[in-house]
Symmetry: C2
Subunit: 311 residues, 2 copies
């Protein structure tokens, strides 16, 4: 630890980062006259403000240093998610590796073999070819729309906890590329991804990728295992030597594991009054440290609290 | 290396990332019918499109694994930059450490000593107390304004290569918090920073910090040395054990070093027609891979090319 003096400036981020554990144990705090702070809001959350991850939509990426938990979004990419479930069930990624780490952009994993003919078979139930799932009809999706302009899209907000955007003119919605968003690498052809090669955003949100590639979910816990991987020195951040690649111990679907091996995680719901209050407190911070409230929130500056499930 | 197939999707980022070396050696490329790509524009750049870093405004942060180059912005924070020059001249940071690494937020360095009375003396010419330099008058600054809405500020663009924002109502301008922006940690009091404790943004742009803290410059080269530092497990990402801290070998002002030890770097100018073309090509990508041009660019999605100076 170091002095409080020079650490306080950036203290606010603690509120959401530490929500993982802190929110679970907290007691309701007294609201400040100017509105509750992020931490106070989380501390006052009720069990109904949280939802458990669905084991059918959760995969565990096991690296040598630990587990990253990824929530899949079948409502946005049903075909890719079905394929990812099959690939995980088949143990497809076990023994493969993280092959790319490009600074301020993405970390990517899959089969490093260049020759398509020599790549690992996908196994039973997994398809080699899928349709592109860049966007879908907005009908049937409930979005908590953020109050500020997005710039990249006409509207932006959260759908079932995923950062998303939509266009009322075309009636379509899509998962947005924010820090932690997971997508399926593709070649020049729009329909050339099948979910076997995945990437995660580790830098400034590359929103220009939106609607150009299939996004399949987001990392809910363990981003710090992926974001610190040494950057590759080859083109696009690919590792030049096989020995530089980070081995994937396994990727498993939570539903395929016995309950004792599953992460007991809850994530904050995004369709509640509490979440709306959190958005407002993030638009205009109430912590005393802030002298100039922003009066604005960007989709990718709204990370979602995660916590261990009680009991 | 891995297959082109699944790597192509994110290939565009190469254009700017690889500009470091590639742009120097290139020959002008034929413009495509729909406009030149990012790489083609850079390849066609002339020597006058680049500027050399000023050694009086450049510091080298030497870590055990290499050097990060930081460009200082005296036009935004003259008092802090003067202090940082004095601190570097005094060898103040030599033997101190990186004490904090918080995922998707900041990496921070300085004196880890909690007790202010026991901290390392700043040395001759360095002041313990400075005024806050959160923003300055816009008069005298030439901004290349980006065409799209920013959200966080009325206008955003580049001033002398630094991402910046301004407000015509108040007539003030400030350096924006983007990936790589360097700022001076402070306590609760606005004027409690002196530049001895510095942080760099390693994640999604925390623009809510704008005008709440003094920003002093940006990392021009070597971000990947800082962004991969293991995240601290203490509050705010501070390392809990002293052994986890990354030692700072030295921080030196380029002007204090013999010419042979200085990095020969040039950065792309942001006040040229070439830069305007680059902005437009980034708003609407011309690479064949893109099916849906964004029609938008965000200030922090516009990284600046850097290259080794020829000759």
């Amino acid at each position: 630890m170091t002095s409080i003096a020079r650490t306080a400036p950036l203290a606010l981020s603690l509120a959401l980062a530490a929500a993982t554990a802190a929110a679970a144990a907290a007691t309701p705090a007294k609201p400040a006259a100017k509105g509750r702070t992020l931490q106070q809001i989380l501390d006052a959350s009720q069990p109904s403000d949280w939802r458990a991850l669905d084991p059918r939509n959760t995969i565990y990426l096991e690296l040598e240093r630990g587990r990253a938990v990824i929530e899949l979004a079948p409502q946005f990419a049903p075909e890719h998610v079905a394929n990812i479930r099959a690939l995980a069930h088949n143990g497809y990624w076990n023994g493969l590796s993280v092959n790319r780490s490009q600074d301020n952009y993405v970390v990517q994993w899959g089969d490093p073999e260049e020759d398509a003919a020599k790549r690992k078979p996908l196994g039973p139930g997994a398809k080699d070819k899928l349709p592109a799932e860049f966007a879908r009809k907005s009908a049937g999706l409930k979005m908590t729309v953020l109050p500020d302009t997005d710039g990249w899209a006409k509207q932006a907000g959260f759908v079932d906890g995923f950062p998303a955007a939509r266009d009322s003119a075309t009636g379509s919605s899509w998962l947005a590329h924010c820090y932690g968003t997971v997508g399926a690498g593709r070649d020049m052809a729009a329909d050339s991804s099948n979910g076997s090669e995945l990437y995660v955003v580790i830098g400034q949100s590359p929103r220009h990728l939106d609607r150009n590639i299939t996004t399949v979910g987001r990392v809910v816990q363990g981003m710090e295992l992926l974001s610190v991987l040494p950057r590759g020195t080859g083109a696009l951040g690919f590792y030049e030597k096989p020995s530089e690649r980070a081995p994937i111990v396994s990727i498993a679907l939570a539903a395929d594991l016995p309950e004792a091996q599953r992460a007991k995680l809850e994530v904050l719901r995004t369709d509640t009054p509490l979440f709306a209050e959190l958005v407002e407190a993030r638009r205009n911070r109430r912590d005393d440290w802030y002298l100039q409230p922003a009066g604005h929130i960007n989709l990718c500056n709204m990370p979602l609290p995660v916590r261990e499930k009680k009991g």
